[in-house]
Amino acid sequence: MTANAHTLDARGLNCPLPILRTRKAIAGLDSGEVLEVAATDPGSVKDIDSFCRQTGHKLLSSDESGGSYLFRIRKA
């Protein structure tokens, strides 16, 4: 994780909690700020992408390493 970034640890949580926590975390940010979300739910890869498409936030990156996922989202 990058220093000073807004982060959300959604590891160990299953559908739909990663999305619900992400929504809540993003609501607290200013437009243009970036949120980093860590998750372990394999379904979150497509769900976070779909969430961003629906809500207009930009999914900057979506990475996987060793069964853990890291998403970077810029608030619209």
Binding site: G12, L13, N14, C15, P16, L17, I19, L20, T22, R23, D41, S50, F51, Q54, T55
Partner: protein, 201 residues
Amino acid sequence: MSNTAPVIDLHTEDLDAWFDRRFDQKMTERDEAHQPAMTIIATKGTLDMAYPPFILASTAAALGWEVSVFFTFYGLGLLKRDLDLKVTPLGNPAMPMKMPEGPTWIKGKELPVPTSVMALMPGFQDMASSMMRKTMDNKGIARIDELRSLCIEAEVKLVACQMTVDLFDYGKEDFIPEIDEWVGAASFLPRALSADVNLFV
């Protein structure tokens, strides 16, 4: 009327092209301004069937949709202050009965319990319910009261069926105060009519 010439000047191709452009523009404006809406009818009050309405409602709200859930018959029990939801493989023949914990030789193994035994064994439903809850907890699945709170926080409208409360002689004080309104079918259907997605659970 006789065979008179059309009144409009005959640059129809220009007119069509202009109309098509304008129509696309207006449709795009309309789509962008449209907030998706969903209505769900929740009719079941068991632990397993409590999940679909609350998961779908909270997720849709997170996507920015406007959501209403109409709780009727056994579904109304999902709005009680005290949730003590049960599930049993009786009537749910496809439900796996797996031990959520214990030594490796038993953990995750399917329990081959015949239906006749399930029906006769006292406390079987409680056992099955606690096994399901434990499994869900192990897998990081939210509890129903947690999902319900998330729905309330995301402004999902919780609509209760007035007829059901009369039918089962419930007291309104047994239910959570966040219920948006107590109504009948005639009040709920117009909302479903204007929604994009309607689900019956």
